[in-house]
Symmetry: C2
């Protein structure tokens, strides 16, 4: 008996979820739901239906976990609580500052429907959060650092594309090696924004555009680039497509801390990810937590949960006894 999954929203993340389900033998994709005309949405599976989101309540008893693949800005704040009234749901809400508010809304809705809802699942928030928590609990006398990259920042790439004279662009966030190495050595420095990450931009300009002006506009853009050292490369559209079409990402969570009667010993805990595809890895994390949501719901749990609240064993298709034997 497999876990029946529905996907809500079919972009990069929805497609990643579809791929990930194929790798998990205890799971089965039942349907994809979209706000678009379902006839226009082509998914990878030939034999799995796509429905309009308006029909979703018909699936209330046919789906164990709904995976919500919308955006954090406007989709999830509405969709997650709304759907949690009728389904066990999971989302990847990633606006860190608004997590407490989202949690409260989703928790109330999920309890109303006696459902489980897992929010803010992926790698940051998600696996990185877990590593910040474990490391800080284990080394209370210490400090942790999160570095992102090397990877594509969609928001920063979009910001460049909105500049006059820019045809297309891709922006990479890159951790500064000197900062990484200082933290790895067990030091606990205070960094400025500029000292932690640099930004590298590959820009395709329109013919005849003023490249110097574009570069200046990028480098001085408040919030996005002004606080960073930014490198701008102008390249051809062909080169952009050939060398910069992927969406890799990754990063590091490093905590160093002291132990001993006089804090005489130093320890460094480092967790890192090197990802070919940001949305596919995020999807893989979400699918593992969808399994956990299913198990929690079967046990009678209700309300909102995060990666902090879920016992690790719930993520695995193996039984606890198998895990003790094989992995502990």
């Amino acid at each position: 008996m497999s876990i029946k999954i529905g996907i809500v929203g079919y972009g990069n993340l929805g497609r990643g979820i579809e791929c990930s389900i194929k790798q998990n033998e205890d799971m089965e994709l039942v349907a994809v739901f979209t706000r678009r005309n379902p006839d226009t949405v082509k998914i990878l599976h030939k034999n799995i239906p796509v429905y309009h989101i308006d029909n979703i309540l018909e699936f209330k008893d046919k789906i164990d976990v709904l995976i919500l693949c919308g955006g954090s800005a406007t989709d999830l704040p509405v969709q997650t609580p709304e759907l949690a009234k009728n389904f066990t749901v999971i989302d990847s809400f990633d606006t860190h500052a608004k997590i407490p508010e989202h949690f409260a809304n989703v928790d109330a809705a999920a309890k109303l429907g006696s459902n489980v809802a897992v929010i803010s699942c992926g790698w940051d928030p998600g696996m990185f959060s877990l590593n910040r928590l474990y490391a800080s609990a284990v080394l209370p006398s210490g400090k942790d650092y999160t570095f992102w990259g090397k990877g594509v920042s969609q928001g920063h790439s979009d910001a460049i594309r909105r500049i006059d004279g820019v045809l297309d662009a891709k922006q990479y966030t890159i951790p500064v090696d000197a900062a990484l190495n200082a933290v790895r050595s067990g030091e606990t420095p205070e960094f400025t924004t500029r000292e932690k990450h640099l930004r590298e931009c590959f820009v395709v300009a329109e013919e005849g555009a003023d490249k110097a002006k574009i570069e200046e506009e990028i480098k001085t853009m408040p919030n996005y680039f002004a606080d960073y050292n930014t490198v701008v490369h102008f390249i051809s559209l062909e080169e952009l497509r050939k060398n910069h079409s992927g969406i890799p990402h990754g990063g590091f969570v490093i905590r160093s801390g002291k132990t001993g009667w006089e804090n005489e010993n130093t320890h460094v805990i480092e967790y890192s990810l090197k990802l070919d595809s940001n949305p596919e890895f995020t999807s893989s994390v979400i699918v593992a937590y969808a399994r956990a949501a299913y198990k929690l719901k079967k046990e009678g749990a209700t309300g909102c949960k995060t990666v902090f609240d879920i016992p690790p064993a719930y993520l695995s298709a193996k039984t606890p006894q198998e895990l003790y034997k094989e992995m502990l």
Copy 2:
């Protein structure tokens, strides 16, 4: 109101626990229990009593969590189930192959006493196990590798010391860089024992001892050294004391896996530890899980638990709401 801790057994680990409790403001050391004559056991705190283990039942209502610091070979298989009948306990049982048996014994005893017992806590088993589990759940189509070191292996050092003509010795286990780098690149090679780790030995020989014979005896010792590339250095006792008196350790858990419709994307998850003091870091992990054991017991949980069964938030002194806000 702080969590009242008792320590059973006072060697390197017990001393590490004592130091770690000092760093956690919500905890308080009540007493140390020993099989030795308590008058001969000097602990770091001046004002905390040491009792003979025979008196421990008098503390049944005065201690929230007993931390058991005995060895896995003979102490813990007896002590953990015995004490779990009367106390919430935690141990660092690390004989991987015997964990299922230990779990079953401790589970039965803890349930008999309506207590919580956490076993096999530390970094391997412990934090490394968690990382194997999380990584394998997230990347089901992949393979993981555990490397240990650079660090001191107590068992191997002891084995060298038993050789005729050896006064003292220290053995370091070192991961082979080529193997680490192959795994980090996303390859999933099969390694022989020799290809993953090498062993470096610092040996103090008795005056006039046959060094060539000692070296040969080390390198051909079955189980301990014969399957490894082993380097032997003969040094003076002064040099051993000066440069090799620490007990550093560490290691790496690396999993690479594929995602995508045709498994076209590769991801690498790496967790590493660089530890100045193996027993103090192990202690720090145990103390965080002692907090979790306390919370579980307060909720009415009973029976044996491992790091796989405990929600990460239980390790922290912060509330879940604080954690969502600050770390998620």
